[in-house]
């Protein structure tokens, strides 16, 4: 870790224009996180092509602030509407909504923001310390290790596939096939172009992702999905008092550690962090019977965890170049669009950018603490905005973004077609995040494998028998099969318990 670079990062972030970008990203993230069904992912994917010509420091600080803001914004709708703004805010419903029903919505929102800010700060500090060390080790990686890393990155499929791993694998396979269209960069052979000149450059992932996320969502929500209408009351968010903080600090610290650690693991995400920390909070609480009725610990625990998981997920992204979660897969796409490849070489080639991002993450979470209550009062009203008003602007932003990358009308049709594909997949409950992972990691996986085989003279065994490669591949296999295996074992145990209960009766 370099203090000179940290100071440089600090001076870059506090420049008025960069600070404004960061604040804008944070506001946008809280807004997108607060509106149910949208989430910060949409903001990241829409902004990615729109910021094509903007300076990378400002852009990535903004996007990461949006990511952090989205994580804490989700709690607002969890507390007020009983609808999580995004999946990782789901555990906040258990105690946030009951507390709001008791007339203490302001206290609930204030506690969630307080815990989010502290959790995020903890995660940011770990990010700064761990990623620099990890990147130093990773500079020795060869294409074989990069291939294994891509495979590990793809194991995030297990956590973002929802109920069906099989459907996640289908989506991931589709995502892996998309980058194969076009001229092969190693041999110059055209693949799946059918003689169309436009396909020689392949599908750019920007319009593909915009179509899959934004357009498919617009079409889906237009189909009788009524916007949630609620009369927003005047809410004054308040942080916990000193006495309340004395009871909460242990829970917040524990949840931050859980969240950061889980965020670092590529195959697990903020949602899992939230639920695990909620469970641990119940276990360690002096008053576990209060959970579910509006306990402040029940709000603080998942929020600290999911906000700590956000910087945690940036550790594998920045240090190794693999996404730690679905959202960081989108941030990876943003890096690639700007011609940057996260990973150990980024620390060597663009150290100032990396440290600017570190400081940006820290500042974003500090801003949540400083501005949180004031922002929450505003955004509690924002969830009233009907989707009918937002929809045309989402379409316009998508069109601008898809067109701006290559100034190609063909990309608009690519965006539209993948929007239809995304809508159909959504309709049949095929998760979209694995497809995103496939698109952003597919090219890296293929090229790294082929280069590794070139080095070893075509020997696949020589590639996978390298110690780090073998270790990563084994970890990937375990990460892929462990979640469904655990689910299967739990289900079997439940069934056995039920059967015993019935026979016992």
């Amino acid at each position: 870790m370099s203090f000179d670079l940290l100071i440089h990062g600090f001076l870059t972030v506090i420049q008025p224009i960069n600070f404004l970008w960061m604040a804008g990203g944070l506001l946008g993230g809280i807004f997108l996180g607060a509106v149910p069904g949208i989430g910060p992912g949409l903001g990241i994917i829409l902004l990615t092509p729109l910021t094509f010509y903007s300076p990378p420091e400002a852009v990535f600080v903004m996007m990461i602030a949006m990511y952090c803001g989205g994580m804490c914004g989700g709690a607002i709708s969890s507390i007020l509407l009983r609808i999580p703004g995004h999946p990782s805010a789901a555990p906040t419903v258990f105690d946030g909504y009951p507390l709001a029903m008791k007339g203490q919505a302001g206290k609930a929102i204030g506690t969630s923001l307080f815990a989010s800010g502290l959790g995020g700060i903890f995660g940011s500090l770990v990010l700064i310390l761990v990623s620099t060390k990890l990147a130093t080790v990773a500079t020795k990686f060869t294409p074989a290790e990069y291939f294994a890393l891509a495979v590990v990155g793809l194991t995030v499929i297990a956590s973002v596939s929802g109920k069906s791993l099989g459907k996640g694998l289908v989506a991931a396979a589709i995502g892996l096939l998309i980058p194969t269209v076009g001229v092969d960069r190693i041999t110059g052979v055209a693949r799946f172009t059918f003689g169309f000149y436009s396909l020689y450059e392949g599908f750019h992932f920007g319009p593909v992702l915009v179509g899959i996320f934004a357009i498919s969502e617009v079409i889906r929500r237009s189909g009788g999905f009524t916007s949630v209408e609620i009369v927003a009351k005047k809410i004054k968010a308040t942080f916990p008092s000193w006495l309340e903080f004395k009871e909460l600090w242990g829970c917040i610290l524990r949840s931050s550690i859980i969240g950061t650690f889980i965020g670092i693991l590529p195959a697990v995400g903020g949602t899992t962090a939230g639920f695990i920390s909620y469970g641990e909070a119940v276990r360690w609480s002096k008053n576990p019977e209060k959970f579910g009725t509006g306990a402040l610990e029940g709000i603080a625990a998942p929020e600290a965890a999911n906000n700590a998981a956000a910087p945690g997920a940036l550790v594998p992204l920045l240090a190794l170049g693999i996404p730690g979660s679905g959202y960081t897969a989108l941030i990876l796409a943003a890096f690639m669009l700007h011609g940057l490849r996260p990973g150990p070489l980024l620390f060597v080639e663009q150290p100032k950018l990396v440290y600017t991002i570190f400081v940006g993450v820290l500042f974003a979470n500090l801003l949540i603490l400083l501005l949180g209550p004031w922002l929450a009062n505003i955004f509690a009203r924002v969830i009233d905005i009907p989707y009918s008003i937002l929809m045309p602007f989402i379409i316009i932003f998508s069109i601008v973004g898809a067109y701006a990358i290559r100034k190609s009308h063909f990309d608009l049709w690519v965006m539209f077609i993948f929007g239809i594909v995304g809508y159909i997949m959504n309709h049949y409950d095929y998760p979209l995040m694995p497809l995103v992972l496939g698109v952003v990691l597919g090219d890296m996986a293929e090229m790294s494998l082929r280069r590794a085989l070139l080095i070893t003279g075509g020997s696949f065994w020589a590639v996978i028998s390298r110690p780090i490669t073998a270790g990563l591949l084994i970890a990937a296999v375990i990460a892929l099969i462990l979640p469904p295996l655990i689910t299967y074992v739990k289900r079997k145990r439940c069934m056995a318990t039920e059967a015993m209960g019935k026979t016992g009766m």
Binding site: G166, G223, L454
Partner: protein
């Protein structure tokens, strides 16, 4: 499986088989390195395997009769409710609304496609108001017509200036008269 999902999987299967066959035609080894067809062949092959497994599992469930019972339960209430609702005046509009809502996603998709096509001709500046007005009308969101037009035109100009001048993004200009007008704005 949901209704229509087997068709989706079959279409995907056909595309995967096509990609697999096209990939294996290419040399596996190309000038001493792994050829361009190996990776897409491996991925499409895996996809074929997964899809066939899904379809086989679905077929097995249907043969066992689980699905047929579920379908029976699923269909009856819908038919039942439509039969009764059709004869109740206050429910008839609800049924009509449900049927209408099923067409809204198609309408939205078609509108987006038309606007993408138009953008090449009339440019971003003139397409944006069409998008705003069309989407709000499709969603049946009630807004004063004059206000709607003002919002649409105002947003178009603001967004054109913001994206074109502030963000330095390239926006479609269209052809002829529309192209000339766009140069006044961005």
């Amino acid at each position: 499986m949901k209704k229509g999902e087997p068709i989706f999987l079959i279409v995907l299967l056909v595309i995967s088989i096509f990609m697999f066959v096209d990939s294996i035609k290419r040399p596996a080894i190309h000038v001493g390195q792994i050829g361009p067809g190996v990776w897409p062949a491996a991925v499409s092959g895996a996809l074929i395997f997964i899809i066939i497994s899904f379809l086989a599992a679905n077929l097995l469930e249907q043969v066992r009769g689980k699905n047929s019972m579920a379908l029976l339960v699923e269909e009856c209430p819908v038919k039942h409710s439509i039969d009764i609702e059709q004869f109740e005046n206050q429910q008839a509009s609800k049924v009509f609304l449900k049927m209408q809502q099923a067409y809204i996603p198609v309408l939205v998709a078609v509108t987006i496609a038309v606007c993408i096509y138009l953008m090449n001709i009339i440019g971003f500046l003139f397409t944006v108001p069409i998008i705003i007005i069309a989407m709000i009308k499709i969603q049946k969101y009630v807004l004063n017509p004059l206000l709607l037009i003002l919002i649409a035109v105002g947003s178009s100009i603001l967004l054109s200036v913001f994206f074109g001048t502030v963000c330095h993004l390239y926006l479609a200009r269209g052809i002829g008269f529309f192209r000339e007008i766009s140069y006044f704005i961005y």
